[in-house]
Amino acid sequence: MNAFKVKRKDVKEVSVIYLKGYLDAHTAHEFEEALQELVDEQRVRIVVNLSELTYISSAGLGVFMGFIEDVRKKKGDIKIAEPNEKVYRVFDLLGFPVLYEIFQQEAEAIKKYRAT
């Protein structure tokens, strides 16, 4: 089993989730649980920081897809920050940039929330 860790940090009304390691079908549920926790707490302004994420599979992508509609209905969003080249390529091929705002810096993502 490849290592995977999820961390959370709350910055005022924004919650940042840090994904580290390998996100695939085996570890996707941890990411899912973290997002569910946030949604349960009505914390829908979410930034997912991928600076330490080395790999993402379709299962991991599915987690994003599973929450985005609900979060947006609640007037929130899931913004993506600091993906590495490989991970960004996966997003790009799939068409994620059309659906999600992807930032090179976490701070930019948080700022974007303030702007709205």
């Binding site: 379709s58 299962a59 992508l61 897809m65 068409g95 659906l99």
Partner: protein, 698 residues
Amino acid sequence: MTIQKHRVIGIVFPLLIFLGVIALDLRWWPEGYSPFAYGKSKELLLGIALGLLVWGTPHLKWLTNRTLLQKLRLLGLFVFVLWAGNKLLSVRSPSSIQVFDDGISMPAPVFSDALWTVIFLGVVIVSVWILTILKELVYVQQGKKTERNYRLLLIFIFLQIVYVMASRREATGTILSSWDVRNLSDTTSLGNLFFFPIVLFAFINGFRSKWIHYLNKSQKTGFFFYFTLVYSFALLMLVKTPNVFSTYSVVVDSFFRSLILFYVIYSGVAILGILFLLPSAGLVDRRIKEIQSLQALSETIGSVFDMKELISKTMELSRKVVGSDMSWIELREDSGYRLAGALGVKIEDVEKIPNSVRAAIRKEGEKVTGALLINDLTKNKNTKGIRKWNRKAGSLLAAQIRYKQRELGVLYALKHDLFGFVEESRALFRAFADQVAVALENVNLVQVTVEQQVYREELRMAHEAQMRLLPREMPNVPGVELGAFCITANEIGGDFYDIIQVDNKRLDIVIGDVSGKGASAAFYMAELKGVIQALAPHYASPKKILTEMNGFLQKHFEQDTFVTLVYGIYFPVKKQIHLVRAGHPPVAQIRGKKVTWLETDGMGLGMASNDVFNRSTDEKILQLKKGDALVFHTDGLIEARNKQGEEFGEALLEETLTNLKGEKSEEVLNEIRSCMENFTQGVPRHDDVTLVVFRILK
């Protein structure tokens, strides 16, 4: 030697000898003188008969194939019968007496009286039975010397018989008119030189009474009184034995006396032994029951795989092990404890104990090694109020069920009495709880294994379904060559491809990848294939088809499921292919040695509304010419890993395609495949790998 032979030689034969001797005696009776009646030959015959009987009776199954209790009861009965028989023989006077010249009087041949004969034979046989049972008792849990010591006893008995026989006086005489008899021999069985070895070995064998340990307390008590009663009869026979046999046969007489002596010594020692063990008998019984409960639990561990059954057995056994009036078990679940079973009390009643009290008991238990013992529940600060719930709650035992540092639950045993549990019960309850832990773990493992097998079976079926959805053979389209392979991973990956010939003016090539988990991906694939087949004939534009599909997916698939796809419609007349890349890895176009990636804009299906999909997805029209090849792949190829954890990657794929040696589709497929296998070097795939190669021939 067979049982039959044993019976014949050891029982029937001696009996025949006895009868023969009696018959011979009878023969000379009318003559008033019998050279045989008191001769050594008769004694010899009787001695041999006795010896055979002693040897053969242990093979008598009806006697030896009995339980210990039955044997003990029979022993007492036989001794009593012996005494009764003896009494009968001595009381019943023979019809006449024969006396001889030298003044020594002899009884008339006793056999003239048929009844006397029968009783005589019966007494001899029962004596041998008694000896046999005593032998069985001596041999219980035999040690190294048991056999030797017993045989020595027998040897001394028979040596004495020989001695007595040898020193028997010859006699002649006439018939007297009264029943006045004296011993034939000066050397009575008691008091001769073999007396002491016999007594010695009788004592040595007397201490071999291990069978006492197999009796429980009530049986010990019962047999104590039983054998004491029988003992009085045996003593009477020993001390006041009438000279019933000695006048008839010194051999039989000697044997008889030795036997009674042996019995008296053995029985005396055994009775004392029982007496000494009586006080601790209760404790011993309890210990045995505890160990039996633990043994029963061990067996249960190995054979019960149903949780409910295990819980119910555990409750039964916990009552036996510590003698509790009530017992119940809590199982750990997530962050709480669930009451899983109870005995001697209803679960609903146990639930009435406030959670705080139960939690407090658990906490107290954590501080103790071994089991927690609360001798007086009313005085313990945590459980004071327990009487409100059940007036009969006196003392409590609680043990954590722990398996390898992991807590599985808690076992409780409650007694009505205060101080109802002894201190040793703690260690016992702890041992019991440890066994329960192993049993629980086993049941869980079995459940997990079963679930895993069910899951594997599901995957296998889904895999088969997946394989069936792929085209069985490539359609024959003039001017075009197609080849494909799909290597599945162990887990369902969701890859598929399809080649659809709507009509002879077009050829549809589809390659796709369903996201999502496990077996459901295969079912989605089936749906998709159906949808594609249904839509294809209606649209000549892949974008239109995919937009419809997007709508379908949005409506019918799970939110977290999406599909990536490349859809190409080839028109052979114009040699044009219309391509749409819906979030899928790009198609490679190979022209000569040049590789171009057709990376058009596009997004996966089922991710956004049709509007968004439409806006973000482009349809590209590509003009192809002879010799061109298109290679479609799924991300399983790119993400294939080697031992170092490196990915195959797009760069290596490009390199492979640039340096292709073969031209035909099959050759291209094989080259790519072997390149991948060379890279991964046996590392198992974690995703399906699909490749389609499409070549223009002319």
